[in-house]
Symmetry: C2
Subunit: 159 residues, 2 copies
Amino acid sequence: MKLSNGVEWALHCCVTLGQSQNPVSAARLAKLHGIPPAYLAKHLQALSQAGILHSTPGPVGGYALTRPPARISALDVVRAIDGPEPTFRCTEIRKRGPLALPPEECMNACAVSRAMATADAAWRAALEGVTIADLTQDIDADSSGTAMSGVREWLAGAG
Amino acid sequence: MKLSNGVEWALHCCVTLGQSQNPVSAARLAKLHGIPPAYLAKHLQALSQAGILHSTPGPVGGYALTRPPARISALDVVRAIDGPEPTFRCTEIRKRGPLALPPEECMNACAVSRAMATADAAWRAALEGVTIADLTQDIDADSSGTAMSGVREWLAGAG
DNA sequence: GTATCTCGGATATCTGACATCCACGTTATA
DNA sequence: TATAACGTGGATGTCAGATATCCGAGATAC
Ligand code: SF4
Ligand code: SF4
């Protein structure tokens, strides 16, 4: 029951990309965050396939957001990195053992699955209500308005 | 981001134990559900240490609930089996890289951690609102009132 | 046209979950 | 008291998935 730590990197990369008008390469994003470049590339590919990022090859290529940050929710990023599978997957043990139910009584999800699905929906709803723009604003406020300007400055410089 | 499947077994065992006045041994619980006995014993021990089950050694021993089913929430079981750790754990990458923040700005949790913690709280709240008694009632209703009577009959018999 | 920079998928390693077993202490029964 | 049944805790093996890395295909600037 642990979330892939790649989610944290992906969220930070989305916030960073929201501050840049030009594409940023995976290598520079990795250097900015101090994380292994080869592994970050893997996650950026997942974001690209999910339609959150747009990749441009070539010497001045890199990644850029496809939508404004206010249109990207944290749930989009989590789903792209961690996969769309629900946290709880029923093993159907009600069909096993001496009291196995007949298949005609297993058509719909059982009570346990329903309860877990409800909790999962609540989790996703909370994540869907937070956008990259919200995170950007909060991070900037936490740093008294210096974080994002620092990022923009670093992106403009050589790195 | 996947929940241990032992949670499913533990929930079913709690529902089953709610139907019995006498302790039930781990071997019989495993046979009833058709799952590996040696592994189920491990999870039952976790439930026992969490204070959800009370174990009685000896020839007629076994496990029994310490509280009425209405007083045991699904969250209690999940926490006992899967651990109390939150789903998201910050790697503190804001302290790494060329734009590392000074430690005095990292005293409180960042925006990303707060958003994840909020979603996690929503998930736990949904799970806390469901009790073993609720699950028992729903499962019985799904089977048109035959499931729990079948369980009681099987527990009374030889197995 | 070519050199270079980038993404993309394929590959290797490593952790933690899954599953099992056994020796031990405890308890009810004969 | 002797015995059988049961939970407890640790040690062990196995395996899927996360972690981490590499090199080739393709596009762009010069
Ligand atoms: S009760 Fe639900 S979770 Fe349990 S085995 Fe049946 S379908 Fe799966
Ligand atoms: S912004 Fe939050 S999640 Fe990201 S590195 Fe900082 S403390 Fe961790």
